[in-house]
Symmetry: C2
Amino acid sequence: MTARGPMPRRLEVAEGVVDLSHGAGGRAMAQLIEELFVATFDNELLGQNNDNAVTDPPPGRMVVSTDGFVVSPMFFPGGDIGSLAVHGTVNDVCMAGATPLYLTASFILEEGFPLRDLARVVASMGKAAQAAGVRIITGDTKVVERGKADGVFITTTGIGVARPGPVPSGDRARPGDAVLVSGTLGDHGIAVMSSRPGIGFATDLLSDSAALNGLVGAMMDAAPDIHVLRDPTRGGLAATLNEIARQSGVGMQLQEVAIPIRPEVTGACDLLGLDPLNVANEGKVVAICPPEHAAALLAAMRAHPLGGDAAIIGKVVDDPEHFVELETSFGGRRIVDWLSGEQLPRIC
Amino acid sequence: MTARGPMPRRLEVAEGVVDLSHGAGGRAMAQLIEELFVATFDNELLGQNNDNAVTDPPPGRMVVSTDGFVVSPMFFPGGDIGSLAVHGTVNDVCMAGATPLYLTASFILEEGFPLRDLARVVASMGKAAQAAGVRIITGDTKVVERGKADGVFITTTGIGVARPGPVPSGDRARPGDAVLVSGTLGDHGIAVMSSRPGIGFATDLLSDSAALNGLVGAMMDAAPDIHVLRDPTRGGLAATLNEIARQSGVGMQLQEVAIPIRPEVTGACDLLGLDPLNVANEGKVVAICPPEHAAALLAAMRAHPLGGDAAIIGKVVDDPEHFVELETSFGGRRIVDWLSGEQLPRIC
């Protein structure tokens, strides 16, 4: 029992830091939630101020996805951990061809983290959520001692509603299907790497971090039977295609010359000893569809602001070994494997 | 691009540790997910192996809640961070009088964390989820460098379906309503504190961590118009009642003699300079209902294994200042304030 005092004066965002009381369930935590989270994410569900949100979703199959975000540095060219935490989870819901509706947000904060930085991250989340048309309806905040976390970690969970009809899924790729990608690869990973202390290099490159629900909606309209949609995040295109190959029990053949990669990314990868196909994207989608729908799908992608550089990059083949093979620009062939090491930690 | 190798041999759970590759989106991460998470949480939705889960929830209003768990130590008498991560979120969904159905789980792991401990936490989550009748349908794993987290942090999000009829909510307490609690207070907080290095003291006390959906279901059956349900976690009963008083614009009057507290908890609180009313619970519920339903509600609570020590502890009153007042065993009165400091960090 503490002496009853007045509510503290307004949160000192400009100069204050997170302290353990902001996670202790008392007055300081209530203030942080009200003045920062509820004020920024303003909507009537969050404003219920319960430890849950109650709502009536539209009818349809429910799609749920969750992701933790630990990107380092938390502010990077083209985004920050807040916008990324919205985009990443919105996109995972989209990959079922669904419309994302709601997000939850859980924050794990390190004691001493500047409230100014937290406010910047939260503002960025709010802006990204609004742009994507999703509402942040409930959340949680925990604080750990200095040195037991790294500023802020955010976990978001997304809930959406699937369209009627077949749902794209990683196990539905079939031999003969076309493999498309919505744009240039590796932009996010290289933009984040470029801002890391000790690795930093000069580039104008921005992360591609973006909410894909608009693009995916247009794609589903143009080609209703898309077999697979997946965003090539951690592990890049290589990991994504290998996962799909394994889930679907197929192989893939790619044309290196068809894969869109910015020269800055190629250059940075040469410098860092990376393959752009292993580098993370946060605003790109891989689509696999029957060959007869590929042209319509490509046209719909290219017509969308986030799909201008879309391309057909290869096809699904019958292969009991589930290899992803690349025909190189020189006419050779190599296996595109997924990363087995730890080259790119904390990229999202 | 790495050399294509065979899938690594099975995860070295007994001797291995988490390394950065387990979060890098490649082969090691896929192995961790398959051999540990999917194998333990075994269900067909998680087995879809997409970055999302697609399902048909039963009709009804949807209830969503999310919570991060950072409890220290992660293994404590009566539970661990895994069981707690299930119980805590299941309970927050229950507090809308709803039936919890699904959980998502996001893990943030520290490099070097023993896989043996992770396996123990995951097994405990799986067991708790099964006992509570909820399925863990999708998840995520991130790894940060040694010293940037503290073993494992878990964020769970719960989704459930509300019953038809009015939903309990923190803004529905009305003057005259009875205030009930389902059992002894402070058990979780004191059990966790007892196992902290530097604070540890000998006690047989166990955390009360438990899933409340069975108890809450029986309560809703017995008293369909419960105005408020809330689990007094961080900040204890004091914080919970102050929050409700503020949300509902009312005051409360409690009888100290009616509040169930174990002698071991009272003793430990004396030792630690804490008030049991500020100490966290993880398997208790506060209920506020019209006075004419209080007897039936109390009987239903006492008839349930998790409500044997349930009690009516006070009533809601008209109070423009929204004070929570306690009539002490000596006949005096004091204000029950919520904690303004940081006495109990990382209790959940």
